[in-house]
Structures are given as structure tokens and as C-alpha cells.
Symmetry: C2
Subunit: 586 residues, 2 copies
């Protein structure tokens, strides 16, 4: 037997017990005639003591232990004279009388400490050492706990976890597929799923009634920051349920997780706001509702005063930053720069200071009377001492710019409180998006999303105005999940493909199996998929998902530890009937 206990479980109640521990040498200190070794494993750190007088040979060997050596130590638990109240095992130490080196270690390329000296790239190359750091390890353990709780809840609600295939068929609609050449059928390929969307719909046609899966998905995209080519979804679908039943079910999942993982309860039902409202009041379809600071539209009030910027703009809107009237010129200039960045994309920012004495001060003051500003303030709910920040321009650019500005002000004012969570449902998304370049509509969600029944009449006359029975779960400004009621009627599905510009043949080629399936009694159904990596990172209190994935890839899609993607042999390529383009075949 290698050990009797782990390094995280001994306390004063075990004093006097003979124990065997195993682990890694975190660090060692020689103090006079004593040597102290911090022994680390997944469960904690326990202090080992060696006494030079009592056992010179053993203590001498202990002094030669290097960092990260793997050792086994046998000894007696005793009370520490110098207690460490910061760790659970801090009241005891082990007086060691046998020491075995199980494995040596070279000096690690960076220190295995919370404040490591290793840069990102080095830590990724030696990810197995990075994972020894307790913060990273705890993220992965958190991930396990969240997955367990997801399964516990879904199982208790009667959902069946069904594994869907990873080797499926490439469908050009959507993002780019990763593909896998077939050896047995020359010239053909499997594709890796971007999501099990069509397969879970088939499971509904099969009568599974309630399905879920924690499932790996793949997208061959140019990686933006914090995107991974492979990522994990909590994928869910249910039959004979309308939108509100679906939302209730998954609100239940969210509540269960918040309770089990963060011990947070929500007394009120999650708010539901429409996409239209979200854009109007928060300038985004994923508003952070930890703070108010709603956008007010000033178009009617502010136009027609000969202020050229306003008069030439389709839309004028503003937010009120509480108690910021004394912002310095430098600070307001920063905000102006902020909204003019390409990501925000506004033409400029008009600042109106509502001074504590009740007067207004603004670069635009020659165009507007005090009464005008008072009217704006009333609309924006501004009080003396507040700062009104106005953006004008095309609505589709000005609203998001105001949304960005709102988040920036929320951050500056400390309103985006860490550890506070405000979940909400954003509903009634547009069904379609127009793409100028290809001059066609694309499904905003995917081609199986149901139009709202009351908007069906607009499908052929005014597709842009059709709303979808689609919804997102948004928490603190992050889209955690999204889904929709699906089309279960073959006729509506055909209409959808028609509006998307698919010929019957194309639709048949790409989604034939699903359209076929719908001919044999598809039940009404709908579902949702949650970004599992993202949700775990949120529970872990971090913005980046990378440290919640055991072996992540970098921004070029490389695993620098495994050193992949990499060359394969000529023989492999021959067997797969493929050649590298631009290289000579054999």
C-alpha cells in the first residue's frame, strides 16, 4: 500500500497515529537542526519534519530532496508548535521516520506556485505541470462538479443522455466543418459535428421525449480570443412542450446549478425581455443587468435644433452616468475615444454635465436651451450631479455603441459586481438576417428555428420582420445558452428553406434525412444548448475559458504540448487517398 492518508485530511484528532503519505515536494526549508518539507497532493499540503539530531541520515536525505520529487513518507502525526491557520492541515505535522523517493524531478521550467513565473506559452507547453497549480486544478475539479450536477438535474427531470455520433455529415450551412477522410470509401469524408442539432431533432422524432448530452462540438473558425476549435455544449431537447415550459425547465437547471455550485438562490423568476427591448434599452442582445443605466432614445427631442450631428442622424440615444458630472475633460475625452474605437463604431460622443447646482454644461450648449436639457434629463432620469452621454448616428451602429459605453461606465462605476449574478431570458429574436454581400437571408439561429406563429403571414411578404420563437439565457452580459422552438411541420420547413434561397434539391441534399423524418410524425419540440466551458468559467469567476479546459489549444488552434496538428506519413495519406495540394504526390 502506497499511503494510508492523503495530504489534505489529517488534523489534530489523528495526533499520535502512524501514517504513510505520498505526494510531491512543494518546498523544503532547513531551520537549524530541523528540515521541513511541504508535501503536496490533489487534496492538500501536509508538513513533514525531519530532525537532524534524532536521525542524521534520514534528515540528510530529506535535505537533498528537490522540488517536485515524488516521495513516500512514513511517520507519526503530531501537533505543530507553529500552527498555520490558513490550511486545513495546518495544526499538525508528520515526524517522519521512513522516506522513499518514488521518482525524481528535474527542475521544472517554471515554479509550481500560484504566482508562477511561467509565461502563457511555457505553461501551455508544459500544461501537465501547469495543472499542478491549485488554481488551475481547482478549475478542472469545478468543471467535474458542474457536469455532475447538470446530469443529476437532467436525470431527475426525466431527460435521457444519448450519445450522438462524432463522425457525421458535412453541411455547408453554418460555420466551417472539420472533416475526416474515409479510407474505405475513397474521395469521401465524414465531418465533425458543429452541434448535434439535427440528431437531437431526430431523437425527438423517435419519441425520446426528453434528451440531453454533454457533448464535444467542433468549429473550424479563425479563432478569436477565447474560442476553441473543440468546445463542450450541454445540448438539450424536449417534445410536447411550448416555449414557456421549455424555459421553465432550463431555468430550473440554472437555479439548480447556482444553488449547488455557488449556493445562490434567486427569489424572482428570471426576467424575460425581447430582443427589441434588449437592443433599445441596453444596445446589445446580451445585456448585463447587474446595473440599470438604460439607454433613452432622444431622437424626437434632440432633432431639429440645427445641431448638424443630430440633424443628420437617424437615431439619437443616451445614457445617464450617475454622479459623474465632475468627470474631468480627460475622462470625457477617454469616453469619446472609447465610443469611436472600431469595435464600438460611433462617430462621436456628446457630453452633457448636469451640474450639482442644477445647470447644464455641454459642448453642444449653443444649440440647446436649458429647458431642452431639462427635458432630456427627465427622459433619462438624470439628477443634478449626473453625466448624460449622448451618441447619434445610424441606429444599428449607435445602439451597440451606447451598449458598449454603458458597460464601460458600469465597470468604471463598480456596478458590475463580481460574485453577483443576474440571469435573464432574451426572447423573440428576428428569424432571419439579411446579408448584403451574398444578397440573401440567413437563419439567425439555424434553419430549423420556428417563426412565431403570429408572424407566419410575413414569411413571404416581409421576412425581415418575422420573429423567431428563439431565446437566449444571458447572465451578466454573457450568452450562456440559446435555443428555440423548432419547426415540426414539413410545410413550414419547406417555406423556411425557400426564404433562405435553398432549392428543393439543395435542401434535400443537405437535410434530406431530417426532412424525410418529418414525414413520419414529428412531435412539436424545442430545446437549448448551453456553452459548458463558458458557464463553468463564469462559476469560476473568470472571463477566459482556457483554464477550465484541461488541454486547451492556442489561438492558432495548436496544442503546443502535443505539438499538433502535425505531419502524417506518406503511407497514411496514401491509404486515405489524399494528397497535400501544392506538394508532389508519390
Amino acid at each position: 500500500m502506497y499511503r494510508t492518508h492523503t495530504c489534505g485530511e489529517l488534523s489534530l484528532s489523528s495526533a499520535g497515529t502512524e501514517v504513510i503519505l505520498c505526494g510531491w515536494v512543494q518546498k523544503s526549508r532547513d531551520l537549524g537542526g530541523m528540515t521541513f518539507v511541504d508535501l503536496r497532493d490533489r487534496y492538500g499540503i501536509t508538513q513533514l519534519v525531519f530532525n537532524m539530531e534524532e536521525n542524521t541520515d534520514l534528515c540528510g536525505r530529506a535535505r537533498k530532496l528537490g522540488r517536485e520529487f515524488v516521495i513516500q513518507a512514513k511517520g507519526t502525526v503530531r501537533e505543530r508548535s507553529n500552527k498555520n491557520r490558513n490550511i486545513p492541515t495546518g495544526e499538525i505535522e508528520i515526524a517522519v521516520d521512513e522516506l522513499t523517493i518514488l521518482n525524481r524531478s528535474e527542475i521544472p521550467p517554471f515554479t509550481i506556485e500560484e504566482d508562477t513565473d511561467g509565461g502563457e506559452e511555457l505553461r501551455m507547453k508544459f500544461r501537465y505541470l501547469d495543472l499542478r497549480r491549485s488554481s488551475v486544478r481547482n478549475n478542472i475539479i469545478l468543471r467535474h462538479k458542474v457536469a455532475q450536477e447538470v446530469r443529476r438535474y437532467m436525470d431527475s427531470e426525466g431527460f435521457i443522455e444519448v450519445e450522438t455520433p462524432v463522425l457525421i455529415k458535412s453541411t455547408p450551412e453554418g460555420a466551417r466543418d472539420f472533416v475526416v477522410p474515409s479510407r474505405m470509401q475513397p474521395g469521401t469524408f465524414y465531418a465533425l459535428p458543429q452541434s448535434p442539432q439535427t440528431l437531437k431533432q431526430l431523437l425527438m422524432v423517435s419519441g425520446f421525449d426528453k434528451y440531453f448530452q454533454i457533448v464535444r462540438c467542433f468549429r473550424d473558425e479563425d479563432l478569436r480570443a477565447d474560442r476553441q476549435p473543440e468546445f463542450t455544449q450541454i445540448d438539450c431537447e424536449m417534445s410536447f412542450a411550448g416555449r414557456d415550459e421549455i424555459l421553465d425547465t432550463f431555468e430550473g437547471l440554472a437555479r439548480h446549478l447556482f444553488k449547488q455550485i455557488k449556493n445562490i438562490g434567486f427569489s424572482e423568476p428570471f426576467r424575460k425581455i425581447s430582443y427589441h427591448e434588449a437592443m433599445s434599452f441596453y444596445g446589445t442582445d446580451k445585456p448585463d443587468l447587474r446595473f440599470q443605466m438604460k439607454i433613452s432614445e432622444l431622437t424626437d427631442l434632440a432633432k431639429g435644433h440645427d445641431f448638424p450631428l443630430f440633424d443628420s442622424s437617424e437615431y439619437i440615444g443616451g445614457i445617464c452616468a450617475g454622479s459623474c458630472s465632475e468627470y474631468s475633460r480627460r475622462q470625457t475625452d477617454e469616453l469619446t475615444e472609447f465610443v469611436k474605437r472600431p469595435q464600438a463604431g460611433a462617430k462621436g460622443l456628446v457630453v452633457v454635465r448636469y451640474e450639482t447646482d442644477g445647470t447644464f454644461r455641454s459642448p453642444a450648449e449653443k444649440f440647446f436651451s436649458s429647458q431642452d436639457f431639462t427635458d432630456w434629463a427627465a427622459l433619462m432620469d438624470a439628477k443634478p450631479g449626473d453625466l448624460m452621454l449622448i451618441v447619434a448616428g445610424d441606429k444599428r451602429r449607435a445602439q451597440p455603441a451606447l451598449g458598449e459605453l454603458r458597460l464601460e461606465m458600469g465597470s468604471r462605476l463598480g456596478l458590475r459586481v463580481k460574485g453577483e449574478f443576474v440571469p435573464l431570458w432574451v426572447v423573440d429574436f428576428p428569424l432571419l438576417e439579411w446579408d448584403e454581400e451574398t444578397r440573401r437571408f440567413y437563419a439567425m439561429h439555424h434553419p430549423f428555428t420556428s417563426p412565431k406563429p403570429e408572424d407566419l403571414g410575413l414569411m413571404e411578404t416581409d421576412p425581415a420582420r418575422v420573429r423567431a420563437d428563439a431565446y437566449d439565457l444571458v447572465i451578466n452580459g454573457v450568452e450562456i445558452g440559446g435555443g428555440s422552438v423548432r419547426i415540426h411541420d414539413a410545410e413550414i420547413q419547406k417555406l423556411m428553406f425557400k426564404v433562405l434561397g435553398f432549392s428543393g434539391k439543395e435542401a434535400e441534399e443537405q437535410f434530406g434525412f431530417l426532412l424525410n423524418a418529418f414525414r413520419y410524425g414529428a412531435p412539436p419540440h424545442g430545446g437549448i444548448a448551453f456553452g459548458f466551458d463558458r458557464w463553468v468559467a463564469m462559476f469560476g469567476g473568470q472571463d477566459s475559458i482556457r483554464d477550465f479546459i484541461a488541454f486547451p489549444k492556442n489561438n492558432s488552434g495548436r496544442d503546443v504540448m502535443l505539438d499538433t496538428p502535425s505531419r502524417i506519413s506518406e503511407k497514411q495519406m496514401e491509404e486515405l487517398h489524399i494528397k497535400i495540394a501544392g506538394e508532389k504526390g508519390k
Copy 2:
């Protein structure tokens, strides 16, 4: 709300209640003035009744319902006059007063019944309809339950489920990899994992201590019957544990599953038998121990009696088939043919009848005395009335042939009882296998399997004799899982690669990251991987895994429902920098 209840939950206690049900029309019958419709969902079947006299219009509509129509029915629960005791809902029916057709169905290509008229291929093409059959659906639900129980047990034992990447690096050792061309790094490929073997070992180096994962794995093999190119493993690894602790832990998993899934307990610890014993006594490394019928070696006893077959053979062995002395000539001829099939590969079979009167009868009787036969019978534990079946030849062919014959006799004699389970551990496998063709040793398990410490000295002198600290869990003649204690010492790992004929450079190229990791303090560790599909099929009482996978592939690796693998567009191939060999590029 679509429904108040499912089709599987109503009973007499609900009589008089108004309910709404949804589901599929299983079948309908018109009897005089009444129409009965069996409504089916995942949870069961409930009978709907329509009365022509009470509601002519409604009953008329019910009569037009086709099989597999999706309907919603509102009505009152009432006691049936003609009860069906075979189903839980058989005491009640619903007197319907509202009927809505939610979706129509064309006539399915085969009947959705347990005894379907659909052939294998048709059912696979319309898998979503095949999954409506309760037997197939119940297999998938069983799979969910087993997965839940695996996770429950592993979590309770302190194992962390860690998701390892699917896009990894190709390693030529082992079976053929599926590969994925990289778009961002022209000419390079990811590979799909045959197992997360090296990654789970890295997690041990990271100090995760106890890891598991229910994980998809991939092998691009020529598919034998009942193999799938993608399959699921329960993959496990633990640190600071020796072989017996590892076996105890996973015996615990097996016991937990048998108890929870089959309500079967085992009073005794699982037997452990060595590979050598298994081959000697059962002629296979995965013996079915539901019955005895051990192989007895007769080489010493039976040689030297001028019987040419025996005298020219390296090995002579036999089994005793109880109470079979009266087998007809036809029956013993069948057995002779059986052992001569290429799969069994024996040269022939010598039959000795131990008659009930105590005499012996055999085609070989002129070579042996009655005392000779009596000696054989004593060794084989044969009694009057038994049949002794003897095979001679090369040991490495004769033993497996006897193993096959033993299974055949077990089946003929009804000794392989369905529903009875005998799990055992086969241990101490050979570390290496010699391959005549390439004239080198291959790792029998994989290159990271630890030799038994007491055999280390033979590594360079007599590698063929080195035993591995490897083990298989075998149940009823099926290998359910296998694993080993791993090499954690870099020097032994180097020695292993040397014996396998890897140059330092090759080892570095293929497993560099693992060898590197071992330089920084690898703990002693070991693990196991179970074939999840196979285990679920065993719990489901079936030999084939296919019906325990929602969307399986056929023997050519095709998904005939999705119609994949399939062609991809020229644009996709261009982006991936690949061409089909033998086709003109653009």
C-alpha cells in the same frame, strides 16, 4: 400546455380525472360503434376510446387517424371493462372528447412493432423510426442509466471526470488513426484518439490522483462484425495505487453496476487467474466461467503409445463433456468438424466414450489399454456416462481449439445460462508479442504497461518471458475491460522502447511529451478502460452492441441514415489544402 400526463402513468386511482395526452397512434381498431386507439409515447401506451353514438363527428375523425400520426387527446380517465393486465395502464382508458392532429405521418417503411417486418438495412436507413420500437428505445435508456451509475460510483470514490481533447496527434503505434486536415496549418493533421491513454497518464503526472471519463474513441480498422469506428470507453486512471488496490476499486465499480442495474450481488471476491492458467485450463484469455469443464493436459500420459497423431504432437489435451457418452456418431462428427474449422484450427478430434457400464469405446482404442483410458478419466475427472474429447497438435493451436470446443459443449449442454454472470480478473499477461512478419516485438497491451518488477531482469535477456502487470475484467467469456500498472520510471520506459525496437529519436517523436513529462516527477499509477458499448449490451442481454448505440454505423463504416461519409465541395478541399489522390485538382 400540450399534455397533463404521459401515456405511461395513469391508473385506476385517476378514474374520473380530465386529462390531456399526446403521442403517436400505435394502432386503432373499430369495433361496432366504438373506436379504440392505442396512444404511444416513451413512457407507455394508453387506450383512447371514441364512441360513434355519443360523438359521431369526433369518432369519424378518429377512424381516419393513420399509424404514427401525432395527436393530442383530451378526455376523462375511466375504468376499462376489458382489462389488459400486461401493461401498467391496462386497467384504464380515456373517453376522448377533444382530438387534435399535431402532425400526420406517411405509412412507415416498416411496422413500428417489436416483431417488425423491416430488415436490418431498412431499419438502419430509418433509424429514427427503428428507435421508436420499445426494445431499441429501452436499450438506449439502459445505456443512460448505466452511464449515470458509472458516474455516481466514480464520483463517490473521488474520481474526477476530465474531458480530454478529441483533436490530438497521430501516433503510428497501434491501430490506424482517423485524421483531420488543418486549414490553418497547411499540410498538417490532427488525429482522433484511439484512447486517451497518454493524456490520462499526463493527468496523473499533473497530480489529479483519480481520473475517469466516459469518452468517445476512434479506430480506422477494417470492421469485423460488431465493431464500430467510433466507440465509447469508461477510461480510468489512479495514482499511488498498486495492482490490487486498482483491481479492488474497479471490482467495486462492477459490483455497483451489477447491483444497481441487474440487482445482482456477488458474495465472493472476483476470482483472479493468470493468463497462463487461463490458456491452460480454458484455452482462451477470456474464459467463460459459468461452467467448469476445464482442459486437462494429457501430453505425458498419452504419448508413446504408437498413436501417430499423438506421438507427432507437441501437446495433447482434452475436456470431459458430462453425460454425453451416448452422443451419436453424427454428433461427434459435428464436433470434429467444429474443431477443424479454420477459426478453431485443430487437425482433428479423438473421442473416447466412457460408457455407463465402465468400459471405454474410442476409434483410438487399439493404441490404448483400458487402464490408459482409466488414467485419462482420473485426470479429467470423468465418470461413466461422460464423453472425453481430445485434441492434439501445436500447443498454441490446440489450446485455443479446445477452448472453442469447451464453449461449444457449454452451449450444447445449456451451461452458459443467460442471466447468470461470472466475472473474473485475468492477470499477468505477457508483456510482449513477437511478430514473425516484421520480426520485432510489439507491446501486447501498449508501450506504457509496466513489466512485473520480478521479471525486469529478463527484459533484455528473454523478453518473451516477461510478464506484464496487466489485467482484464472478463465476464461470461467477454473481455469487458483491460488495463495495467504503468511504467512511471523514465529508465524503464526507455528500456521498453528499446525492446520494441524504437530508436531514441522515434520514441521522442511519437511520445516526446510523455517522456518529457516523466522527467518532472511522475507518480506510480495505473488504470483500466472498459468497453462501455459492450458492457451495456451485456446488461441488456444481447451479444451485438449495435442496438445499444443510437446512431450506429454499418460494417463498411457508413451511416446509412445520414448517408455519410460523402463528398465535400471543391472549396472545402481547397481551404484544407488537400486533393483527392487520382483526381485532377483545380
